[in-house]
């Protein structure tokens, strides 16, 4: 039992690490994309938006396959890995983070883009007439006003990364302590007929998801009130 629980805890720790790093990167990468999608008048921006949204409908196996190609020894990922003497990013924690970022991107970009669009041009125009440079206006007006969008994006990005399975299996494999996250652990336990352990992890994740969505809803309500 001690072994088992330490195995579960390793998976929990790994899952949290993965989701946290992915969320941070998602916010850093997703915010400029969302800003551009909200503000640009380029005719092809919806094509970019569609590419960002693809993971919503693509089977994880398709995405996983392409990621494997990109991250593998013959792709740019392998080239990158050769910088520190490895030959591939597939089946590593780093590869998993990259995969998660791609996979969860729509869940982060969409709420932030919506928040930027909902505030309209006016607050930024006001800032400009008060001598705020575009960067200052972005940091002191756009970001604070889009706070509810950022909160939703962070929570969804985190939760969605925790919940991913297909991609992890495709590009991460099932290496304990390295790529074996909770969702994969459940699969593993079920395969090995370890119903009890599967139950613990599955129930834990169900409760986690419930709390996440409830918290997010309540948080959004509150922020919407404050932001009036």
């Amino acid at each position: 039992m001690g072994d088992l629980s330490s195995e579960i805890w390793t998976a929990v720790r790994l899952t949290v690490e993965l989701a946290t790093s992915a969320t941070i990167i998602l916010l850093l990468v997703g915010t400029p994309i969302a800003w551009w999608l909200a503000r640009s008048r380029a005719w092809w921006k919806e094509a970019v938006a569609t590419v960002v949204a693809l993971p919503l409908v693509l089977p994880p196996t398709v995405l996983g396959f392409y990621l494997l190609v990109v991250l593998g020894p013959n792709g740019p990922g392998g080239l990158l890995a050769s910088l520190w003497g490895a030959d591939t990013l597939a089946f590593t924690f780093g590869g998993l983070v990259i995969g998660s970022v791609v996979y969860s991107m729509p869940f982060v970009v969409q709420p932030i883009r919506n928040a930027f669009e909902a505030m309209g041009d006016r607050p930024l125009e006001v800032a400009a007439t008060l001598r705020a440079s575009p960067l200052k206006a972005f940091l002191t007006v756009a970001v604070p006003l889009a706070r509810p969008g950022f909160a939703t994006a962070a929570v969804l990005g985190f939760a969605h990364t925790v919940g991913e399975f297909g991609i992890v299996l495709m590009i991460g494999g099932n290496i304990p302590g390295k790529t074996k996250v909770l969702s994969v652990a459940v699969f593993d336990y079920v395969e090995g007929m370890q119903w009890h352990e599967a139950n613990i992890v599955a129930a834990g994740m169900a409760i986690f998801s419930f709390i996440v969505i409830l918290t997010m809803t309540l948080l959004q309500k509150r922020m919407a009130r404050v932001g009036e």
Binding site: R122, E125, T129, R131, A132, A137, L145, G227
Partner: protein
Amino acid sequence: MNADSRADSMHAETIRIAFRGRLGKFTLDAAFTTPAFGITAVFGPSGCGKTTVLRCMAGLQHLEGVCAIGADVWQDQSRFLPAHRRPIGYVFQEASLFPHLSVRRNLLYGAGEAEGNGIAFDTVTALLGVEHLLERAPRHLSGGERQRVAIGRALLSQPKLLLMDEPLSALDRDTKHEILPFLERLHESLRLPIVYVSHDMSEVERLADHLVLMKEGRVIAAGPLHELQSDPHLPLAVSREAAVTLDAVVQSYDQGDGLLTLSVDGQPFLVPIAAAPNGRLQRLRVAAGDVSLARERSTASTILNIVPARILTATPLGSYEMLAVLGIGAPEGPARLLARVTRRSWERLDLREDIDVFAQIKSVALAPARSEVR
């Protein structure tokens, strides 16, 4: 003084505007010059492009053209300063306060970037009566309070030009009357040129010194308010609400009768209103429909103000009415009155241009005090 510096000092007094371009189906081709002091109202019906002109002046919109304030050129063929590089204040139709900042931080938002040239925080908050609101969140303010804070915020960014886009039109009647005195005080106490967009003639009559008339994307006239009001070729003078504003100086007050005597270019006017200090500048408003004409000075009349005048021009209004532009006060002086009379009376009295008559003014409205002393 060499030629260059003379040209500079001439420019220093004017705002030069010319914008041309298409916005969807709408074509704007608007050009005017107006003095860089006092309030210039840009007036016209909704959709005539006046807001677009203001946005172009602010650099919020980019149409081809010229925008220069004195010797500072913000836009011409070769340059376009973005909005945040122009020393303007802009007051939008809706107050547009930042909802996530307190009143104080809203007021100070643009103040940090500005090189202070003397519009102090305490002065502005006192002028606008918002001292007691500083720690509040914008959502806890009334519409009028919000707009006052927005005006204060624009002023504290130390602008060289204040642009106001129908700042009162989103407010109800009472709130409007709460804000108008602040705008008048602003005009008196700060030496800041203001361009004020409006489609409400009563605001223009109260506030404006100069007027730019717009229609369907074009400027149809620009000049001093009273000149445009009394020009029979322009829509203002021939409209049903035609009126002139007159700059008057308080002369004396008759306590017993409650009558204030004011002088317009030497011509006295009696107005039943509360006392005001002698020498104070007041703005009078006389509607064309309140002025009738007589060949002789009537002594048996309840009308207080009977003013000798000369008919300068006469214009038929439809088939049954005439509009007369009258010169009053000093001969050839700038003061004008409008009179709208029936065609029948016109012919019965044998009225025509260039004859002397008496204008009987049934009512003179007083625009609120402008405390400048001449």
